[in-house]
Amino acid sequence: MSREVWCIVEHRGGEVDNDSLQLFGAVHRLDGEAVAVVCGDEVAGLAEQISGECDRVISLSSSALASFTPDGYAQAIVPLALERQPSAILTLHSHFLGRDLAPVLASRLGTGLISDCIDVEWRAGFVGKRLVYRRKLIATQRSIVPGIQVATCQRGAFEAPESSGLDAAVEMLSVEIDVDAVRWKVGEFDEAEVVVGDITEADVIVAAGRGVGSKENLDSVQRLAKAIGGTLAASRPLVDHGWLSRGLQVGSSGKTVRPRLYLALGISGAIQHVVGMRDSDVIVAINKDPRAPIFEYADYGIVADLMEIIGPLTDEVEALRG
């Protein structure tokens, strides 16, 4: 078994997804050689973007890899992995490589998969730590199959190492893809609309979560937002219910915001929400559950029924701002 750890690099539109570099940080935890694997059509530019960040680059190119497909990527990666036997293969726990590719790779390599890891190590085998039961516990899991290991890493859990400034060796391989065995036909990408004056530009955000309870209660949240001179935003469930528009959703599948003040009302603090707001300057959380994970990100925490606080808070703010 080699010390190589393969990090499958995520990219789109000719740009490497910078979070992919965090995978090299995970490789350090495994004391391995960080090998970036780039699959695509035109890969030279991508290889160049990362060659200063890792120990080696393998680029796998074919016109059939122009768009990501699980079958295409697996055809490119699996035979080479079986030949070279890297100790592990890592991807981000992303919507493409993490969710669609990693289970396919694990399955075709006959190995297990530990997904959404916040830490990895070797401890009598490959070990990954992951948050379970809505972040209330960490489960430490170990693969019980020898050979190549597959894991996905949570965005933000590992730090990308400092750039070495040295260009790593790039191995360019062109691969044969049997296009008849590629079952996805990829169509249009539809980019999120960029709206001027949207929540990403707000100074103060009042964000409502499922704890708000009803559409009627949202009016009180709206009133507070207005009083405080802020913008209303929401966690995903309120958008899913059709109470608010998609453009107001904060989180991994919505917007990333960084206001001076973020008020989280009845939001539990799921990772997909937190990644969109944790860099706010000051975070206030109101939640009736004292163990809600949102309190770990908050500067000020209030354990209470938000509907009881929101009235007095609105009054207080109105009195202040006149």
């Binding site: 516990l137 990408f189 219910h241 003040l261 770990e296």
Partner: protein, 255 residues
């Protein structure tokens, strides 16, 4: 056309989740509910069944409480259900996938739907692994599904940052469903009554052709390290409001 839906009974978010002195998760008081993501999958399957004249089989492998979830699926409009009791402690995605795939083999669904992940363990692997076991193609994070005239599935996948991509793929296929693509119905009284007469088949693990396929074991549970805790503000609602506002104004200068 036959559509199967994978349903999981997950630990209710309000359940008290803690570790015993033996370091094991204390699950005696766990209450279970249907995984939220799967609820959207069931609804989508029933809508597709209405549109394309299909039958819907709901399937669960898990704790005894999953029977309630399956009954809910039947009451919403599924045709029949299959349940395999599996102990929570065996929770390994490969094992779950192997059990589900073996159950589904004779059913031969054209389409299998599941939620994007489970609310409690959140591995987001089982759907794709079931596809691999059955030789189906899979797509995850689906927020819209249509069947074209040629029998090809046109799906829209959600990407990070609110972006989307459209993908066409042939059946048989597995799709994992993201919340928000429909509005799950509440079972009607009529639906609930009708569900009582529908088939709910119970299979035991010993009835299935599965190997010793566990690939990952959980060796330990622990509490996440507490980060710097928030400054907690307590008192009457009025006192809290006034203290918060003065802190935000005087200390943080954000008001």
């Amino acid at each position: 056309m036959r559509i199967a839906v994978l349903m999981k009974a997950v630990v209710e978010p309000e359940s008290r989740i803690g570790l015993g002195s033996d370091g094991e998760v204390q699950c005696a008081n766990f209450r279970y509910e249907l995984n939220e993501y799967d609820l959207y999958a069931v609804e989508e399957a029933i809508r597709m069944a209405e549109l394309y004249d299909a039958e819907v089989t709901v399937v669960s492998a898990g704790p005894e409480e999953a029977v309630q979830s399956l009954r809910k699926g039947l009451a919403m409009g599924a045709t029949d259900a299959i349940f395999v009791p599996v102990e929570e402690s065996m929770g390994d995605a490969f094992l779950s996938a192997e059990v589900l795939a073996d159950v589904l083999k004779p059913v031969q669904p054209d389409l299998i739907l599941s939620g994007v992940e489970s609310n409690d363990l959140g591995g987001s692997q089982v759907g794709v692994l079931v596809a691999e076991q059955l030789g189906y193609v899979a797509a995850t994070m689906v927020i819209s599904v249509k069947v074209g005239n040629d029998g090809v599935l046109n799906v829209r996948r959600e990407l990070e940052g609110g972006n989307f991509v459209d993908v066409d793929l042939p059946m048989p296929a597995v799709l994992t469903i993201q919340t928000g693509l429909n509005e799950p119905r509440y079972p009607s009284l009529k639906g609930i009554m009708a569900a009582k007469r529908k088939d709910l088949v119970r299979l035991e693990l010993s009835d299935l052709d599965i190997g010793d396929s566990q690939l990952v074991e959980t060796i330990e549970y622990s509490y996440p390290p507490r980060r710097e805790r928030a400054q907690m503000i307590e008192g009457s609602s009025e006192a809290i409001a006034s203290e918060l506002v003065s802190l935000l104004r005087a200390k943080d200068k954000v008001l």
